[in-house]
């Protein structure tokens, strides 16, 4: 689905011909400095052809994005730099001063070899990327990177969204989670995600009551003291969440008598079918 620019938001595009966490670190460094507000980041790794780059730059132009790139290939770097200039895009290559500085100091030309970057296997790398993503998405300022998720988990409190996401990330899936609470509007970005990538979690009212009462007890509160555990309140939350899930077209799982691993495997199956 084509996403259009959100008014008042600065779009940052990161382009490279390799898949490195370094660009993610840079992206995260930048957004933290602007309090993660009004900045949308999109990452495009493994761009190996000028056509692929052109396509991304076209999109960047349509959204008036600020383009950050870091190509190892001198040819692709030159192409991107020139293309951005032709298209009058704001662009910057944070690696260029590093590469040219190192070239000067070391007195040698750089190798342009992604293989030298990470001496680890792809699976491991994919997993670490997924987990880093899931951490970032769990971080509160999550809505701006929602579009990068392989799957978005929605549900009311105590349905195990966070642990489920961490488990999925552990399997290499970028998972984001959005709590559904009657008092808080879900982020607009959620409604731009394809339904096949949204999973809803629900749980029986009885089991929610148990879990929440136990939680209150742990916090030193009597179960009667909080509307959090009240049956009607739980019903209302479930109703509200069901309504949202339906409008999103999400696949819904009842996690009442399921271990997290089980739900995760069902979701993995679903995602695999979806990509076939």
């Amino acid at each position: 689905m084509e996403r259009s620019a959100i008014p008042g938001v600065c779009e940052l595009f990161f382009l490279s011909d390799w898949l490195g966490e370094e660009l993610d670190f840079a992206a995260s460094w930048i957004t933290r400095r602007f309090e993660k507000i009004d900045i949308e980041t999109s990452r495009f790794g493994s761009l190996r052809t000028v056509d692929a780059i052109s396509e991304v730059l076209q999109k960047a132009a349509s959204m008036d994005a600020f383009v950050l790139h870091g190509f190892l290939s001198a040819e692709l770097r030159r192409f991107t730099t020139e293309r951005c200039a032709d298209m009058e895009l704001d662009a910057y290559d944070p690696f260029l001063p590093l590469f040219s500085g190192l070239s000067d100091v070391a007195g040698e030309t750089m190798k342009e070899d992604p293989g030298r970057l990470h001496p680890m296997d792809n699976d491991y790398f994919k997993r670490v990327k997924a987990i880093e993503y899931t951490i970032a998405a769990d971080d509160g300022g999550n809505s701006s990177i929602l579009k990068e998720a392989d799957v978005v988990i929605v549900g009311i409190s105590r349905t195990g969204k966070s642990p489920l996401c961490m488990y999925l990330a552990h399997k290499g899936i970028k998972a984001a989670n959005i709590p559904l609470v009657p008092e808080i509007e879900p982020p607009v970005q959620l409604f731009q995600i394809e339904p096949s990538r949204i999973i809803g979690l629900t749980r029986s009212t009885l089991s929610l009551e148990h879990i929440r009462a136990a939680r209150m007890h742990m916090m030193g509160l009597g179960p009667d003291e909080s509307k959090y555990v009240k049956y009607e309140r739980i019903l209302r939350e479930i109703d509200y969440a069901s309504g949202i899930m339906e409008s999103l077209g999400a696949v819904v799982f009842d996690v009442t008598s399921r271990a997290i691993e089980e739900t995760a495997h069902e979701i993995l199956k679903l995602l695999r079918h979806g990509t076939q």
């Binding site: 600065c10 602007f34 944070p94 642990p163 008598s257």
Partner: protein, 268 residues
């Protein structure tokens, strides 16, 4: 050629700059003999001091500083001393400041903490993956927490969740026929937690698992009630012998158990 030094100057942790610099360095054969990372750099005097050191041997200076005046000062002093200098992300800050029409956060306080947390969490999660399901037991001494439990008590999700909060968690399954690794005996008992669950609930969960796998639950010892009770009993006595803190996860969300464990870890 003689060895090179890399100086990283940051108003925060400098980890982002270090990662980026290392990625760039990987593209060259030259080895950098030393990488000096100066964290929380503030003030011109401190910058002068760093540069005096950098000037002693062939060096390159890379900075991630938000403050424009400090950046300009550093650039000017490096030029004067003829030291190659890279302002890594400063130009991005400048563009965004104009585009967003507001100033960036400077590094003291909250921002430093955010930066530290970010990398601490990333490292903790990498550790948790590495030490998941009884793998890499040689790394156990570095763990903040070792989680033990029989199959399907939710060790992996719990480890991942706790790692996500910045603690290094390892998990090891307790399997009836397999001896737990010896190294566990050398881990302080305050770092070990055991997960326990009611036999009834575990049997339910395992039934469901077998069903999902397309297997007949009744045909397997895995979901057999008697066998489960024996397994749980053995697990409990082993956990007690280690002096582990034991958590019953029956009817509890992973977040709950995690919260109790986190409270304990933070109180230490």
């Amino acid at each position: 050629m003689e060895s090179l030094n890399l100086f990283i100057v940051s108003d925060s942790t400098g980890e982002t700059a270090e990662h980026m610099a290392l990625a760039a360095i990987s593209q060259f054969d030259t080895t950098f003999s030393n990488i000096y990372r100066y964290r929380y750099v503030e003030g011109e005097a401190k910058i002068e001091e760093i540069l005096a050191r950098a000037a002693l041997a062939p060096s390159m200076v890379v900075c991630t500083l938000v403050d424009k005046k400090s950046r300009a000062f550093l650039a000017e002093r490096c030029a004067r001393r003829d030291i190659p200098f890279v302002d890594l992300l400063g130009p991005v800050i400048d563009v965004l400041e104009v585009r967003l029409g507001r100033a960036p956060l400077q590094a003291p306080g909250l921002l430093r903490k955010l930066d530290e947390d970010y990398f601490q969490r990333i490292k903790a999660v990498e550790f948790a993956i590495q030490c998941d399901d009884g793998r890499s037991t040689e790394s156990l001494p570095e763990a903040d927490l070792v989680i033990l439990g029989v199959s399907r008590t939710g060790k992996t999700p719990l480890s991942m969740y706790i790692a996500n909060k910045g603690f290094r968690a390892a998990n090891i399954p307790l399997i009836p026929e397999v001896d737990p690794p010896d190294i566990l005996k050398s881990i302080p008992s305050s770092k070990i937690v055991g997960l326990i669950i009611s036999g009834e609930r575990l049997s339910q969960i395992r039934h469901e698992r077998l069903r999902l796998l397309g297997l007949e639950p009744k045909a397997s010892a895995y979901a057999n009630r008697e066998r489960i009770e024996r397994e749980l009993l053995a697990a409990r006595s082993y956990l007690e012998s280690l002096g582990a803190r034991i958590y019953d996860v029956t009817d509890r969300a992973v977040e709950e158990t995690a919260q109790e464990i986190l409270d304990f870890l933070r109180s230490k």
